[in-house]
């Protein structure tokens, strides 16, 4: 059994945009998720991280490249996708929005088992999943409706609904961003416990580097449809190589030693990916003249740059790295 549970190879996902333009939401991503790890996919909104997650789940089809699960490319045939979605489960951002308000908690958690036609005692499995997610005693929650729970409890129900299928991979899109501060840590601790006790692998999509420091083994930083830096969490956050990662890190209020590099403007437009390094129009190295001094300014503006290993296990896509 290979160490890699899921990977994307040269993955491209495109959407039609206005005026016949094409948005390159995911623009050539090679990403590996290893068994038993927590991988954080970090970037600003619009960088393509949610599209990448949806493509991994088989909800979007790639225009080019492939998603491979357990060494096989995934197929978009319904007969393949249903069991696949039993093995790869998603936890969405807003627990209130992803729970059916008219279903009891029992129904919510049991639904996946029914769709997947899993054998065995449904009530026992539902109870186990709820207890595992920290909702104890589980029977007390069976007949409740989502509105009767707090935000943290609702997110636990969503996690129980995913874990009841005993998936190999959990894809969590901003799992705590809509939760209260004090509840956040509890949900993250639950996710780590699921990794240790149930052996699930987690891909967590977030804009929050602090969250990555809390739970991730590795980080992949995404910018405008590409992974621009990847490495083990501590290595990447203590030696960020890409100027985009450095800028992201510098605006985390807790990181005070770093001078703030506030990038101007918003995440750029995926219908107009800049030539050369896609980050160069916002790059502090280019703006400060540092790229000029290093003699790479021309390459930054004209030559695309791929990820390369700069330090052991730590890759970055920057002409200056």
């Amino acid at each position: 059994m290979s160490d890699v549970l899921l990977e994307t190879r040269n993955l491209h996902v495109r959407f039609p945009a206005r005026h016949g333009e094409v948005a390159q939401a995911v623009d050539g991503v090679d990403l590996s998720v290893r068994r038993g790890e927590v991988l954080a996919l970090v970037g600003e909104s619009g960088c393509g991280k949610t599209t990448l997650a949806r493509t991994i789940l088989g909800l979007e089809r790639p225009a080019e490249g492939e998603v491979r699960f357990e060494d096989e490319p995934i197929s978009y045939d319904a007969r393949y996708l249903r069991p696949y979605r039993g093995k790869v489960q998603m936890v969405f951002q807003d627990p209130m929005g992803s729970l059916n308000p008219r279903q009891t908690i029992y129904e919510v958690v049991a639904e996946g088992l029914r769709i997947q036609k899993r054998p065995g005692d449904e009530a026992v499995r539902v109870a186990d999943a709820l207890a595992q997610a920290g909702l104890r005693p589980p029977e007390r929650f069976f007949q409740l409706y989502p509105y009767e729970l707090s935000g943290g409890q609702r997110q636990r129900v969503v996690i129980a609904g995913a874990m009841v299928l005993q998936p190999a991979l959990l894809v969590a899109d901003e799992p705590v961003s809509s939760l209260d501060a004090s509840v956040r840590g509890e949900i993250l601790a639950l996710m780590l416990r699921l990794v240790h006790e149930q052996g699930v692998t987690i891909l967590v999509v977030t804009h929050d580097l602090g969250l990555a420091w809390n739970i991730a083994d590795r980080i992949a930083v995404m910018y405008l449809g590409r992974i621009v830096e990847e490495g083990p969490t501590e290595e990447l956050l203590s030696n960020p190589l890409h100027p985009y990662t450095r800028a992201l890190l510098s605006v985390v209020p807790e990181v005070e030693e770093m001078e703030q590099q506030i990038l101007q403007g918003e995440a750029p437009d995926p219908t107009r990916i800049p030539s050369g390094c896609r980050f160069h129009p916002r790059c502090p190295l280019v703006a400060s003249g540092e790229a000029e001094r290093l003699g790479i300014a021309d390459r930054c503006a004209s030559e695309d740059v791929a990820l390369s290993e700069v330090r052991p296990g730590h890759t970055a896509a920057c002409h200056a790295a």
Partner: protein, 324 residues
């Protein structure tokens, strides 16, 4: 020390109070804000921090009972006649609302929306020039005034709302979660803008958020709220770095320090859920979730006790001279 610009005394706000028992959202809160000073109000949803913002401008739903004093420049907002209140809103105190992305009128050009606020309060003002000036102040080109809200990004809309709040040159700006729905980089841009404005215009500011780390960076002083009361107050950086109240400690730990190995692969949270304002626990309302609660806590009448260097905290451990 001179008179504070804003002085809130023993504020109580109860929703739906008429007749039957209402929901007590704010239960006896006092604080001062001096001219040009920044105060942070921290706490989780339901702790009453946004209710305070609404009470200051008296923009809460009907049937809400507000008791206490809200002295702005010595004059009680709660006693003002409607005409006086309208004049004070926006020209003296203004607010940047939470969820601002929906606060703009979708079918009106943003420049006109700002202009409208100016015209109402000062019909003789040179509206057009002032709108252009305000847009520049918040870092938008004046021509964006011709755009409709949907043509602007989230960060740009937030800038428009800040321009709107500044339209009548208030002395106090209340910012209620102004960066919550924004992206990290845009959050940093908006925080930097608020900081610059506060300094350049000498604005007093009340900054409301659940993110203590942001407050430590933006504000001079912070008050932490729990279940409708202030449970700790002091210098913002100090409160974040060495909390005296166990609730503050939990809130601070929710935003891990990158590089701090005690948080690495060790997220820390707080068990339980924020209390229901209709059923606030007895004694110290935090006791059911508190990791250092003692036998007395369910009965203790907690109040803000001195906790050293301008700090006060409502915890029996502080009263006993020991930090939890």
């Amino acid at each position: 020390m001179s008179e504070p610009l804003l002085s809130v005394r023993d504020l109580h706000v109860t929703y739906g109070a008429e007749g039957k028992a209402g929901v007590p959202a704010v239960r006896g809160v006092s604080f001062d804000v001096a001219a040009g000073e920044t105060l942070g109000l921290a706490g989780e949803s339901g702790c009453g921090k946004s209710t305070i913002a609404g009470a200051l401008l008296k923009v809460l739903p009907p049937k809400t009972e507000i008791r206490g004093e809200i002295l702005f420049d010595g004059e009680d907002v709660l006693q003002m006649k409607p005409g006086r209140l309208r004049a004070v809103r926006w020209t003296e105190m203004s607010i940047v609302f939470q969820g601002a992305l929906h606060a703009l009128n979708p079918v009106q050009r943003v420049g006109n929306q700002i202009g409208e606020a100016i015209d109402i309060h000062d019909p003789r003002a040179p509206t057009k020039a002032r709108v252009a000036e305000l847009l520049e102040v918040v870092g938008l080109p004046a021509r964006r005034g011709g755009d409709y809200p949907h043509q602007l990004s989230g960060g740009q809309r937030q800038r428009v709302l800040i321009a709107l709040a500044l339209a009548c040159s208030p002395r106090l700006l209340i910012a209620d979660e102004p960066t919550t729905a924004l992206d990290v980089m845009v959050q940093a841009q908006v925080l930097r803008l608020l900081e610059d404005l506060q300094r350049d215009l000498g604005l007093a500011m009340i900054f409301i958020t659940h993110d203590l780390s942001t407050l430590s960076y933006v504000c001079k002083r912070t008050a932490v709220m729990y279940a409708g009361r202030i449970v700790e107050e002091g210098e913002a950086e100090e409160v974040f770095a060495s909390p005296a109240h166990p609730y503050t400690a939990a809130l601070a730990a929710a935003f891990p320090l990158i590089g701090d190995h005690s948080h690495r692969l060790n997220p820390s949270g707080l068990g339980g859920d924020p209390p229901d304002p209709r059923a606030i626990p007895s004694g110290c309302p935090f006791h059911p979730r508190c990791s250092v609660a003692v036998a007395d806590c369910p009965n203790a009448a907690v109040e803000l006790w001195p906790a050293g260097d301008g700090r006060r905290a409502a915890c029996v451990h502080v009263l006993n001279g020991s930090r939890p």
